[in-house]
Symmetry: C5
Subunit: 360 residues, 5 copies
């Protein structure tokens, strides 16, 4: 990956919300959608209805029934609509702020009557580009709200399972839907770390090439940065799931705990893999150093061999290029050929010497 | 940044208070203001008054009323005035000592009737210079005292919100003002670590230049030092906010806790970022090493190519510069041109060899 | 080990179960056996019967008696059969999923009436190839189920002891068989880390060779990867055994605890050894770096000695190869021999100089 | 600092007390004073008396009164006298052993009726030499015993404050004197780590010199050793002060706790600084490596430039030194000048090439 | 230390007990003594008897009296005799296994009526060879059993103190003897780490030599291995002593606790020293790297100086060796001497240049 390309893709989001009133709702991310896209899925054991809309107002019609209503908002830049939703469900002002603050790290907050979870959705989109999307989930007694930064997510399998009548999801409460949402996100982490593993292997293979086209240290540093970023996105989720699993909130059903324990296993496994990859990447820099040194060794050997062979020979030729009045060898009939003989002997002595040193 | 400049800016404050009586009030910082600047903001739900003065005595007139009085002192070298204030509010002698001791690390002390918080205000002033200012806050039932090393702070947004009638701050107690003060400080940390991130990227880019003008290892070491200093200033604050959040002191209202939890999230996020930057900076030194090694490799290749091509050719020329009486080739009519032919063949053989080795 | 060979052997298993319904049973490993091989050992104090079958149905005949029934399944790709078994013993759906998910890390789950343990069986098979096999154990009141990825395991010694009438195993419950199974697995870890130790020593010896045939940094990196993988497989088992030892599950007899404590000692010892080997391997890269540098030093010395000796001599010869009309030395009768004398003096001066510098 | 000097100053104390009876009192340090110097300070609110003596017996006269008696012994080699003192105050035999064992690490032991504290007094004496002195403190109801290895300590300020009638120290119990003693020791640690900081800066500056006179890696290693030693002396004191602060021993007054908390802050700050310095020193070695590599790069460039310019030119001269019968150029009238022209062109081409590569 | 020698001394013990019945007694060490040497010391306040024997049976005569009986077995290969002893004192089968398993890490096990401690005895024997001996101690109400791998131990001082009537040991119970035994072992650790410190210093001195005879990286790696091994032997003992100190086993007398606390101090101090040495050894590799690089720098300088001086001079000589028909300088009367002048100027210019660069 060239440096230029990386810098374009990697446009950092600055913390522009500094010096604002606490609790003020300002979107700081870079993804903007024209209209908020609101997706409302209402289901119970018997039936499912799904409605797409541009106005959160439509979602409120479903509320108050015995069904579970999943309202999914795409586009965090429409802070007004999100505040309207927050007011309807009586969410704390700080929660609204966290929903639109894409810098917020993964966390869980228990409130009277609802649970608030923030996490990071990492996935490769249709164009195979790496997406790090801020995702907030609020679950209440009979509603689940999800807030995403932009269109596109990892919940398509989940939507199918809801529509599919005979799944466990249709027979469970909002806590199971929360579990299913987090599970879908965590499942995608596995793909992300698989990609990481592929990149490490590709770099290791590059280190074998005789003459890598560019300085690989920047690629290794980029990989370090990437693994550190992924770790930052994923690690706090361990604590989140841990607290969910231990939670005695009235919304979390007893039966859901074994599913959460399973999730905990997965996130621990991912964390362990990330640590392993991190150590591998750190090792790559050492490998690169030795590769460079090995190459320099080879360059030096070529120079040393060439110089060591021809410098003495040139000296010998120089001797008989001198203009002394009396150089007896010059008068020998075959002096020239004797010298060639001596030179060939010297030449093979040097070759033998370098062979013995295993430089040839 | 040149070395000279760094050393001037970086004038270290020595621990000159050594061997003094414990509890003795001595200012050890380097920033001196001529007169202590006292700023008194008195507010309640209905009205705000603000008065700037040079005498702390003026502040006491406001005290004793039902309003909240925020007294802000700029200039810690006026220890007499600070002691006068301390006596008025019956602060412990050790607190007065900590207020003027700019070496004091961030901490929180609960006392009967008041809470004492020390933290570090990091910001870039109007001249864009990095400022590390010692800040102490004392809150009581109806007063908030803040002590700053020098003029200039990060509280302008906060002052506006106090003057603005409809904010939450006017309807809350001193604990909310404490939160708002710390929040303003923490918000500025985000800017500081953003600057850090920019510096790291600038250094990474410098490492790409063919021939960086100076030894970058000192810049990297400076950056290490800087991140270590920032970490030292920020890390203890985590513990401070953590203890505030868990505190059951009568001054901390129940409703303030959720704001403090939010603050805790922010400071954790900052700490995580600092750790990431720290790892990136450590990686920079490795990158620099490989950059140097890569350059040396290139230098060596040029030398090896030049020497390997011309040393054998010079030897061939040397052969026919010899003065032997009988060198048959010298009598050949086109001997000179044959030799040129041989030399050109050798030349291209070497070129081909180096091409195959990918050195050209 | 050549790079090619490593890559073939090391075919990574991708996380293909992503985006599936939680609790869905899909085998993700790479080892496939044609028919599930079911081995049923039924024993009590008096007698042992053993039956090999291809149908788990046969195992159920043994159930319900007073004996202990050990059912061992080889081949996790036959998910249907495993589900049948799970249904018979009323195992939780998540357990069935974990049994066939070879990516599952070692863990223990307590359930009402049974205990579920996952661990990794590491051993060298008959062809001396390293095998990392996913092993799940379920123990109930009178049955022990073990699920292995493929044929071949480390339990042959255990089978003999069961057949041998007078062992403790025949007089104990399923908890002791669980201990004995884990103990057999852990005992094999000792062999694995012994092999690791041998590889480290072999690499250290390779570093002594004058001219190692290939770039050793990849072998060292491979070894790092290997020790990290083994650590990932073994470390979680510490927690598993720890929880078993502290468990108050009704299935774990009081007397078994001292055996579990012993097991705990063993796994701790293995972990400590792995840490030591890890540090040794990290040190290997440093050793390799110094080895390369030492070699380059030697190459440079040869070049420097050759060049330093012959360049001045060539210059001296060059002087008297000049065609000035008047060079007095050229007319000396023995000028040529005088020059030889001077050259020999220079030669020995250089030799002496390099001897004093200890380069020769 | 030269290597020789370091080794003289750094004479290690061997553990010569090995294989002795536990509880046997043997001094293992290297500092010997001819006679034990006993300093007895007796004070209460009204008056102070001070007496210097060579016999501990004199100290006992003061005992039993209502005053506080501070007995300070210099010279741990006089084990007999120390045992006499121990018997008088009924100290445990192990305490006596620890008082004279200069290898004992900082610790605190609570006993019925007295508290025993061991710490390390680090300071620069009048000759500016670094002193690491073993200091033991025992406090009882009305006495404080301090045992120092040699003359000279950091308590002069404290002595003055005792003599000065109006200090807090005269109005407090032995616990405050204990605090004041530890505080004086900790205050000096700040000076020690300031010196450390100066040394690091000096080394960083040395790394800038074109040609440092000696191998700096030993100075860096010495600094590492020093910071590790200081850390070893200081770190355990954190635990000591922590336990003092939490202690509910009847000798520790309620009011003293806030002073101890202050002390805790100081020692934490020192520990944090030591960690920062440690990281800086580790970074120094990397800087040194890059400095060496940069220098080698420069050396190589000079060689490459010289060789690359003159080797082709020498070859060109060699061509026309050949003795072929027919070399057309030799007959050209201005052939010699044409060649010079060609040589100058080649010369400037090389210069241009190296300029473009930024090597010149 | 040469590589060959190390490998001979370092013959690793393989884990040959794998796949055995748990609780089966198999000696896996390498030290074999022909007959078990049994040493029986029986003592009370009044008298001591000592008997050496080859049959453990003799030891049982002493048992059952009011005295304390210390039975010391040398030679773990005589598993039969050890089992006999175990049966007599009713020791658990797993203890017997641990006594002969020299791979067992230090641990403590409390049983009803007796305490079992495993530790490692590290010392230099009469031939100054490093011995790592497996030592097990069992104490009961009136007996102490010690099991050593071979003859020779660190308890001679202890035996003398037992024979010496007036020591504390004769008046205390088996718990004090246990303390005294561990204390003797720990005291020897101090000697071991002193030796380690000497080796580090010797290596540091070797790094100063101009031309160390062999590649030191292996010696450094050996030292790393050694410190890791010692750490592995010593660290678990901290936990053992810690649990002993906190133990409320009826065999541990109240008064013994202060001695155990003292022991705890010692082992902590040793652990801290090991950590310091470990960091120093890791630093050694860096030092070695810089030493190599510095040497290469010097080699390169010699080459560069020689080449830079003589290559231009050779070129100048080459110019006037050309055979052009018209080279005006050749006809100058003193052309030869003018050229020498120019050469001398060039020579000193180069010398001056290198002096200015501080390379000379």
């Amino acid at each position: 990956m060239s440096r230029k390309k990386r810098q374009k893709k990697d446009k950092r989001v600055k913390y522009t919300s500094v010096n604002q009133v606490p609790g003020q709702v300002t979107y700081v991310g870079s993804k903007e959608s024209v209209a908020p896209s609101v997706e409302i899925i209402n289901y119970n054991k018997e039936k499912v209805t799904r409605e797409d809309s541009n106005d959160v107002q439509n979602a409120f019609n479903f509320n108050g029934t015995d069904d579970i209503t999943w309202i999914n908002i795409n586009g965090l830049n429409h802070t007004k609509e999100i505040e309207k939703l927050g007011k309807h469900y009586k969410l704390h002002q700080l929660i609204i702020e966290d929903i639109v603050n894409t810098q917020q790290r993964p966390k869980i907050d228990d409130y009277e009557g609802y649970i608030f979870v923030v996490l990071k959705m990492l996935y490769h989109d249709a164009q195979n580009e790496f997406i790090n999307e801020h995702l907030s989930i609020v679950i209440g007694e009979d509603y689940v709200l999800t807030f995403q930064e932009a269109d596109g997510d990892v919940f398509n399998g989940l939507r199918e399972r809801i529509e599919n009548a005979n799944g466990r999801i249709r027979n469970s409460g909002t806590d199971y839907l929360l579990y299913a949402l987090i599970d879908a996100v965590v499942d995608n982490y596995f793909i992300i770390i698989d990609t990481m593993s592929d990149k490490i292997e590709a770099l290791e293979d590059s280190l074998f090439l005789e003459n890598p086209e560019e300085d690989l240290s920047h690629d290794i540093q980029d990989l370090k940065r990437e693994v550190l970023k992924i770790r930052k996105a994923i690690y706090p989720l361990r604590e989140v799931i841990n607290r969910l699993e231990k939670s005695e909130h009235q919304l979390i059903d007893e039966k859901t705990h074994s599913y959460l324990r399973d999730l905990q296993d997965h996130i621990t496994q991912i964390s362990e893999n990330i640590e392993v990859y991190r150590e591998m990447i750190w090792g790559l820099m050492d490998m690169y150093m030795t590769t460079i040194s090995n190459k320099m060794n080879e360059v030096m050997k070529v120079l040393t061999i060439m110089a060591s062979i021809f410098i003495p020979l040139t000296f010998m030729a120089g001797i008989y290029g001198m203009n002394f009045e009396y150089i007896p060898e010059l008068q020998f009939k075959y002096g020239y050929f004797y010298l060639w003989g001596a030179m060939i002997v010297v030449f093979f002595l040097m070759i033998w010497y370098f062979k013995r040193k295993k430089w040839l």
